[in-house]
């Protein structure tokens, strides 16, 4: 069974994302002086039910034991029914393959909720973006 870390490292790229993701993601991790083994545990993976690539992404995450949340463009329920409560408890990493407006909104919610930033973002297709939001530890 694929581990959560393996999902981040290889699973996403191998299935739905372009080669660029395979290169961007590790370099991002290196840029923060972290090895791939220090990648955060994902609280949830977000996918969009309307797009097959995104559904595949969600399925693979779920198969890796990661909790998923399917949206249909609108992030209201994801925010109000789920992340709102989780992020009240403290920062938690999420990743997704969605349309740009979803990450546009989630980036701001994440910063408001705590010290979380988008640490990876890459165009996957004309309307889908892969992204990772994770806690920023300062000390």
């Amino acid at each position: 069974m694929t581990s959560r870390r393996d999902f981040l490292r290889a699973g996403i790229a191998a299935t739905t994302l372009p080669v660029s993701f395979c290169t961007i993601f590790p370099s991002m991790a290196v840029g923060q002086n972290r090895s791939m083994h220090e990648l955060p545990v994902l609280y949830k993976v977000i996918f969009d039910l309307r797009f097959s690539k995104s559904r595949e992404f969600g399925n693979r995450a779920r198969a890796s034991g990661i909790s998923t949340y399917g949206i249909e463009g609108d992030i209201t329920d994801l925010w109000y029914q789920d992340l709102y409560f989780r992020w009240k408890q403290g920062p938690a990493a999420i990743a997704g393959l969605t349309e740009p407006p979803a990450i546009f909104c989630l980036e701001r919610f994440a910063w408001d909720a705590g010290q979380m930033r988008v640490v990876h973002r890459a165009d996957v297709s004309q309307n889908l973006v892969s992204w990772v939001i994770e806690p920023v530890y300062r000390s």
Partner: protein, 537 residues
């Protein structure tokens, strides 16, 4: 660290940041490029250009005392501060400061709902409370109260009301500043001021009676740079029993005049307590009919008579209005029946009944109801629309710059505004359809011609948008129309249009500013109000 506050040495700034950190905790002072970038205005019309308004750092206090300490430090080092509540004012500047190099005071952590009073239908909140937070707090308490929220609802009641933001439910609640009652403000000298009945120690009516005693100064803290608002009371609407919406269709171009007059009468006489919104099925149907599209795309704007002929031949209304009634079901029905009678005075007008609801809505009804902000339910749905998907791609249109002119609430004024703004659209090659749109109807006695101009990551597009915006302000001024709200990049321009008696209004603001903020630390340039040291420079 990319930007320093102008005139502040690197050493002083570093010392100030250390002192901010002592005040709020080291984790809540943000000065790295990655963190500060989050305070850029995502819809800046100057994105990536030298004139883009950017912060030098941000600090996020959690208590009033911490805000006071931040202000004290800022005074000591003459560091400009720019307070934001949740910073979601997209289209009007977002979370970016009005003066580059300012330290954003991000009040997101001051997020307590301090009181919900169901008996008096009011609340008291801190600036970091979002509409989602307040809605949830009311639901958790089981109070039968409604909020009135903008669309989308991720902003804050305090931030939105201070910028004269608006919502969608009942008269008396849609104008969010008008619906506030009582403020707490940290002044530039660090003192804490409470307005209205809040000035009375032990007051029992801070959120119940607005005026207190003496001059009512609350307006001085809206769209201003005279203080940092740390608490605000708001009046909330008791949940109504029911809602109904009806529509009226008319078929002649000039029918807009009696249509708007009748809506105004219904609103101002209290018969209709919701918004009366206006539309034209002609513009909505254009994609289905190339002949109609051709009429609408005519250079210089559509010919009203040609559209009128099209409307008659195709049995398409020229104009419609949607009416909204909130309250007792029987009263709504009586009010709607009276409205039907009034509109029957317009020859050929058709009155159609629309959806009805009883409250509270079930979760399923909330999912299927159209435009749930009409029921005070915050959401983010606007970001999932096709138009927004287009806007949030990198090119050509990333976002919006809102132009919002207040014009009289009558058909003649709308026709004139459409004509004038269509000319501007032609001059700048903007979509004409856009400028023949109908006004937004948040206010009882005026309407807003609201245009969304494209902003982009493309500098040439932004240059054109800025030029169009300046032209819009100019032609509006020539016609006696003013903007009710503007992004910081254009606030000097808009304030200068309010030029009666040699700009006495702006000069009055400057006099107040110099008196209560002599170091000019609070939001320099906000609403075109500059402190003396920067004014003279």
């Amino acid at each position: 660290m990319a930007t320093l506050p102008p005139g502040v040495s690197s050493a002083d700034f570093s010392t100030a940041l250390e002192q901010f950190a002592e005040a709020v905790g080291p984790d809540w002072v943000f000065s790295s490029d990655e963190d500060v970038a989050l305070y850029r205005d995502a819809y800046s019309p100057f994105w990536g250009e030298e004139q883009e308004l950017v912060a030098s750092a941000a600090v996020s206090p959690t208590r009033v005392e911490e805000v006071q300490e931040v202000v004290r430090v800022a005074n000591q080092y003459q560091i400009p501060l720019y307070p934001i509540s949740t910073g979601k004012n997209l289209g009007y500047g977002g979370s970016a400061p009005s003066y580059s190099g300012s330290v954003v005071v991000d009040l997101k952590r001051m997020n307590r709902v301090l009181e919900i009073n169901e008996r008096n239908a009011s609340c008291l909140v801190e600036p970091g409370v979002s509409y989602f937070d307040l809605y949830r707090a009311i639901q958790d308490q089981g109070a039968k109260l409604w909020i009135d929220c903008p669309d989308p609802g991720w902003g804050s009641p305090i931030g939105n009301s201070l910028d004269h933001g608006l919502g969608y439910t009942m008269n008396g609640y849609r104008d969010h500043f008008d619906a506030h009652c009582g403020m707490e403000v940290v002044l530039a000298n660090g003192e804490v001021l409470r307005t209205g009945m809040g000035a009375l120690p032990g007051s029992k009516t801070w959120q119940e009676y607005k005026y207190g005693f003496g001059p009512h100064i609350d307006g001085m803290f809206s769209q201003s740079n005279f203080g940092i608002v740390t608490k605000m009371g708001f009046w909330l609407a008791p949940e109504p029993e029911a809602f109904r919406t009806d529509s009226v269709k008319v078929y002649k171009y000039e029918d807009l005049i009696p249509l708007m007059d009748t809506v105004s009468y219904l609103v101002n006489s209290g018969i209709m307590n919701g918004r009366g919104t206006f539309g034209s099925p002609l513009t909505r149907n254009s994609a289905k009919d190339p002949a109609l599209e051709e009429l609408l795309s005519r250079p210089g704007g559509p010919d009203p008579r040609a559209l009128e002929r099209y409307a008659a031949e195709n049995d398409v209304p020229y104009w419609t209005t949607d009416l909204r009634f909130y309250g007792l079901e029987k009263a709504n029905d009586a009010h709607a029946e009276y409205a039907r009678e009034k509109f029957s005075a317009i020859p050929g007008a058709k009155f159609e009944e629309g959806p009805r609801h009883r409250f509270p809505l079930t979760p399923e009804q909330q999912k299927t109801a159209d435009h749930i902000v009409d029921f005070g339910i915050p959401n983010m749905t606007v970001f999932s629309g096709l138009a927004m998907q287009f806007r949030t791609s990198d090119n050509p249109n990333f976002g919006d710059l809102f132009y919002a002119a207040v014009i009289p609430k009558n058909g003649e004024a709308v026709f004139e505004a459409q004509r004038v703004f269509t000319e501007v659209a032609s001059e700048f090659d903007l979509p004409l359809r856009f400028f023949s749109s109908l006004p937004s109807t948040w206010f009882p006695r005026a309407v807003v011609m609201l245009f969304s101009l494209p902003v982009s990551r493309n500098i040439e597009i932004n240059k054109k948008t800025r030029a169009a915006f300046q032209r819009l302000v100019q032609v509006s001024e020539e016609h006696g129309w003013g903007e009710y709200r503007a992004a910081p990049a254009f606030q000097d321009l808009v304030m200068n249009a309010y030029s009666f008696n040699n700009n006495v209004l702006r000069r009055f603001h400057e006099t107040v500013k110099d008196a209560i903020d002599p170091n000019g630390i609070l939001s320099p340039g906000k609403s075109g109000i500059w402190p003396k040291r920067l004014r003279d420079a």
